[in-house]
């Protein structure tokens, strides 16, 4: 009798929590699905009825995607995003890795001073304008450097990487040193091959940050030729008249709403495609950071 009531209790409990999980799942998926449905809605349909969440796949029209993908502004913005993401992440890693490695050496004279040097701006942010003045003074406005350099070392990322390096067995590094390797060689031949997980985690964080970047681009990139996809998307979404940013063919079969939705979908597509494959690196990195707080 007792086991019976208990199992009913369990079944009810499982029913409850799994319903909750499924409701949340649907709550996250509906907006994403709606973006997609809207992006493939043909003009003649939207004039006649409301869209809802379902559109017969036979009616899907990829006209908006066709127009966007062949549009020079869109291609240029995508290229800019790629340049900023790849170039920016390269700069991030080139600056962060050696710095974190040097700080991970417990015998480095002045180590405490350098760590403090890194912590002060982490704790106290001078704010928007003082940084803006620096970027302006250095003549970086309207260059890719303006969006890449201000965050070239993410202090938190650097500290997470440092503590990873500190956890590597000292014996391996010391053996290489005794063989006459200098520190650059130790880093390259001993430490980095052992650090792939943290390199991927931190690298991916930087890359996502660059792909999503829009505020620094608004601040520093006035030249439309340099603006990334996020800025083009923002312009498309905010514009009363889309033609200011991408000439939209009014005679096409895609409505403006499909055009907007398609640009949203295309901008998030790289993340949707890449993220599930690298999810574990993101979560690992977060746990590492969380535990080290």
């Amino acid at each position: 009798m007792r086991t019976l009531t208990k199992s009913w209790d369990d079944i009810f409990f499982q029913f409850l929590i799994n319903s909750f999980l499924i409701i949340l799942l649907i709550a996250v998926l509906i907006p994403l699905w709606r973006v997609f449905v809207m992006s493939v809605t043909p003009l003649h349909y939207i004039d006649t009825k409301t869209l809802g969440l379902w559109l017969d796949p036979r009616m899907w029209s990829f006209e908006a995607y066709k127009q966007l993908l062949s549009h020079p502004s869109f291609i240029r913005a995508t290229t800019n995003s790629l340049i900023i993401t790849l170039g920016g992440t390269t700069v991030n890693m080139l600056l962060t890795v050696p710095f974190a490695y040097a700080l991970s050496n417990p015998d480095l004279p002045g180590r405490k001073i350098f760590i403090t040097m890194a912590l002060i701006p982490f704790l106290f942010n001078a704010g928007l304008i003082p940084t803006y003045l620096v970027v302006q003074k250095l003549g970086l406005v309207d260059t890719y450097w303006a969006v890449i350099m201000p965050g070239a070392i993410g202090i938190y990322n650097m500290l997470v990487m440092k503590s990873f390096f500190e956890g590597l067995p000292e014996e391996l590094k010391e053996a290489a040193r005794l063989d006459g390797a200098n520190e650059l060689q130790v880093l390259w031949h001993v430490v980095l091959p052992l650090s792939k997980p943290i390199l991927l985690t931190v690298g991916l964080w930087y890359a996502v940050g660059h792909w999503n970047e829009f505020f620094n681009a608004i601040l520093y990139l006035n030249d439309a030729k340099l603006q990334p996809l996020t800025i083009l998307l923002r312009n498309i979404l905010l514009a009363a008249n889309i033609n200011e940013y991408v000439e939209y063919d009014a005679f096409s079969s895609a409505p403006v709403s499909a055009f907007r939705a398609a640009s949203v979908f295309l901008t998030m597509l790289p993340i949707i495609l890449i993220y599930p494959r690298v999810q574990r690196y993101f979560t690992k990195g977060t746990m590492l950071g969380g535990v080290k707080q």
Binding site: R34, F99, A102, D107, Y132
Partner: protein, 332 residues
């Protein structure tokens, strides 16, 4: 931890040994202690040079520039030569009508996000942990983590698709049931709900990670023992799971409170507009408008500095409390 320590000790031992043997001693003695150290670690210092240059240029030069908060900054005169103004800009801000509104909006939006968002993340984490359908749990995790990686520009697009009066899904439903469409993003009554709601939609999944890690760390024999004693599911959650993640909850709360003046700049910047300034304008957006759009560099810097100062105090206090808390053994 101990292993690393002994490794470090061994290393010191070896370098001392080298000195004893006399490797390079004659050459290095002439340089003095400092020179010897600089020489010995020259590669590490060399590797740090780009980073040091970065810190000076992009992290410390801004701190230097922050002095314009106490000056009447004239771009032509430069930071140093601009005339001194004392606390004029701070007073302007403190006495302005904006002061209470900005602080109020910032704190209210931050707190709403914390108070409403956190229980969602905790409940989701508990559900993910308790469900017997582990593949479903994995799928839910992947899908609910995803929005965390979307830029607020994309989020704005998604919100338009859902909430726009003309083509948003929610308004389609309202119209279908005979109501009047609502301009959620432009309505002072709705704006905060949109801000908090979209933040919860975006980050609830991601917020579960730390709680899940804490749940995984609970000794499973505790649950078994409780089951043997006849504890119900709810009792087990209440008496074992929740106490098990209490440490994490406290730490996350403290850290979030430490950053209470960061109400989500890029989000608000992307979502707000003139009609909702009264409920949505926060310190950061105001600083942006005053500084970048109105060229009030000194005033904007003063407000930024004020925010940075309060933020520093709060973060340090939160850190201290966290350490005390962790010291009691819950966070180990």
């Amino acid at each position: 931890m101990r292993r690393i320590f002994s490794g470090g000790g061994a290393m010191i031992g070896i370098s001392k040994l080298k000195n004893l043997i006399g490797v390079q001693v004659s050459k290095n003695q002439r340089l003095g202690y400092l020179g010897r150290m600089l020489y010995k670690y020259r590669w590490l210092y060399f590797m740090m040079l780009p980073g040091i240059a970065y810190f000076i240029l992009f992290r410390y030069l801004p701190l230097w520039n922050a002095q314009i908060a106490f000056k009447d900054f004239k771009p032509l005169l430069g930071v140093w030569d601009s005339p001194f103004a004392g606390f004029k800009h701070f007073n302007t801000f403190f006495n302005s009508f904006y002061f209470t509104q900005l602080i109020g909006n910032t704190v209210i939006i931050s707190l709403l996000k914390l108070v409403l968002g956190m229980p969602m993340a905790i409940i989701l984490a508990l559900c993910l942990y308790e469900t017997v359908f582990k593949r479903l749990a994995g799928f839910v995790q992947t899908i609910t983590y995803l929005p965390h990686f979307l830029s607020w520009v994309i989020m704005f697009g998604i919100l338009l698709v859902m909430l726009s009066p003309s083509e948003g899904l929610v308004n389609e439903a309202i119209k279908a049931s005979g109501g009047e469409p609502i301009a959620f993003l432009y309505s002072p009554q709705w704006f905060r709900a949109v801000v908090v709601g979209s933040d919860i939609w975006k980050d609830t999944g991601w917020g579960t990670i730390l709680y899940l890690a804490a749940l995984m760390a609970i000794d499973p024999t505790l649950f078994e023992a409780a089951a043997v004693d006849g504890a119900s599911r709810m009792q087990r959650i209440w008496h074992i799971s929740l106490p098990g993640i209490l440490g994490t909850i406290v730490v996350v709360t403290l850290l979030r409170l430490g950053n209470i003046l960061d109400a989500g700049f890029t989000q608000i910047f992307m979502l707000y507009s003139l009609p909702v300034y009264s409920v949505g304008d926060i310190l950061d957006t105001w600083v942006y408008r005053q500084g970048i759009l109105e060229f009030q560099f000194s005033l904007a810097t003063a407000v930024g500095l004020f925010k940075g100062g309060i933020g520093l105090v709060l973060v340090l206090a939160a850190n201290r409390l966290t350490k005390q808390f962790a010291g009691s053994g819950i966070y180990s």
